[in-house]
Point group: C2
Chain length 263, copies 2
């Protein structure tokens, strides 16, 4: 059933969630941003009304999605109109549901486990949606809305959600930074990052179709100390390499060797 | 032109390189392994003769590919027949070309920039092949053989090759271990690693179609210290998380923040 929705925020998550809801037959009534031009830009895409004051939010929507930075969530909640009859949900991985004041309105969390970008459209169909709410009826309402977007909707408490976010930081944010480091090491030797693209693709592919623990390759897991010390020497002897990167090499090497021995 | 080839070794690289040469019309004459059953298993796939003594190698091949562990390369070289007229090449990322004794035979390096697996067939067509040799004529011969397998053949000295291997350790081996850590964090909360598969795919996809430095997301690059300290607390308070993993979190967070500020 088509729902009436308000989007609070105009960033990556607001944009992609708004588009997914809009394209799946829901009606976006309003888009809020502190900066009216930002609200207007997204509202135009969603056929919605732009607003730049929280007090101007309609009281008649079914859902209010808070898609702002984690730091801004408490302030937004504080300034919401008090008479809302719909469900208020934030979309953050690391903000506890306890951020909501109890007994003012129905509340919950609607966390899409994905990384978003304003300009790159993304299908929600395969994005896991983690749902938590203040009461069972609200859980049901959020889940049934979520199911209109994705095939993978699941219950998830605040601790689990935090752990998903941390796992994502390791598997995605930190991984991306390892690509940055690799690129610099290559560039220092006048080599292109593209050289290792096939290797990166193959590694990711293997980790996603197997247990990554069984897919570990490289000098650390083989305990090939002759190569390890050659590579350590290359990193420490090379003045253009940050000493912290050599430290990172040692720490990850140690963790890989240890992971073999863990029962 | 079809070449006569000897494969020394029977592991992942030996198998995949042997298969690629065989399927591209070259003739594998012999496969050497210290253990005859290993030599025989691969030789059967390649329509070749298995041998378990280096002194039994034919003197009449065009190329001898040393595909053994880095530690074993010097021993293999020491025990090769002295009268070889063909080119001897090792396939290692981290072994300097200086491992070859000068003026005994023509020598070089033929390094496929990819991770291999005995059982998973892989097309060499898109694998970059890094070539180095002791003299220009040998370089040419190795490159022209390489071009029968891959569209991406390039000159690469020993230092560059070492840097490719180190970059691969960061971008692939270490990345895989970050997946292992992420999986453990999720499992501790009764969650499946599959939950973050779409996130990992999207992250890799973005890093390979853009400059990874511009694609960095997450609390560190936003300097969102409120989330960073929540996540640090989760890691240090959780007894099932190795303290070294909290250390890794801090180090990578620091490196990401620094990378923003690098001119």
């Amino acid at each position: 059933m088509s729902k009436q929705i308000v989007i609070i925020g105009s960033g990556h998550v607001a944009t992609q969630l708004g588009l997914a809801l809009h394209h799946n037959g829901h009606r976006i009534q309003q888009v809020y941003s502190r900066q009216l031009p930002h609200a207007t830009a997204l509202a135009n895409l969603l056929d919605a009304e732009p607003v730049d004051q929280l007090q101007k939010l309609t009281e008649k929507a079914d859902f209010y999605f808070i898609c702002v930075t984690d730091q801004a969530i408490p302030t937004v909640i504080e300034h919401l109109p008090k008479q809302l009859k719909g469900i208020v949900a934030h979309t953050s991985g690391s903000t506890d549901m306890a951020v909501f004041p109890k007994e003012i309105y129905r509340y919950g969390v609607f966390y899409p486990v994905q990384t978003f970008n304003k300009s790159k459209a993304i299908s929600f169909e395969t994005i896991p949606l983690a749902i938590e709410a203040g009461d069972p009826e609200t859980t049901l309402a959020l889940k049934s809305l979520a199911q209109t977007l994705s095939q993978q909707v699941f219950d998830c408490d605040s601790t689990q959600r935090l752990s998903i976010h941390i796992a994502a930081v390791f598997a995605c944010n930190f991984t991306n930074h390892l690509y940055v480091i690799a690129q610099r090491i290559l560039q220092d030797q006048q080599l292109d990052f593209e050289l290792i693209h096939p290797l990166i693709q193959e590694t990711t592919q293997k980790a996603l179709t197997n247990n990554p623990l069984d897919m570990q390759t490289g000098p650390a897991v083989r305990e090939d100390y002759s190569i390890i010390s050659k590579q350590q020497h290359f990193l420490t002897a090379n003045q253009s390499v940050d000493p912290k990167i050599a430290e990172l090499y040692d720490l990850l090497t140690e963790l890989i060797i240890k992971s073999k021995k863990r029962p």
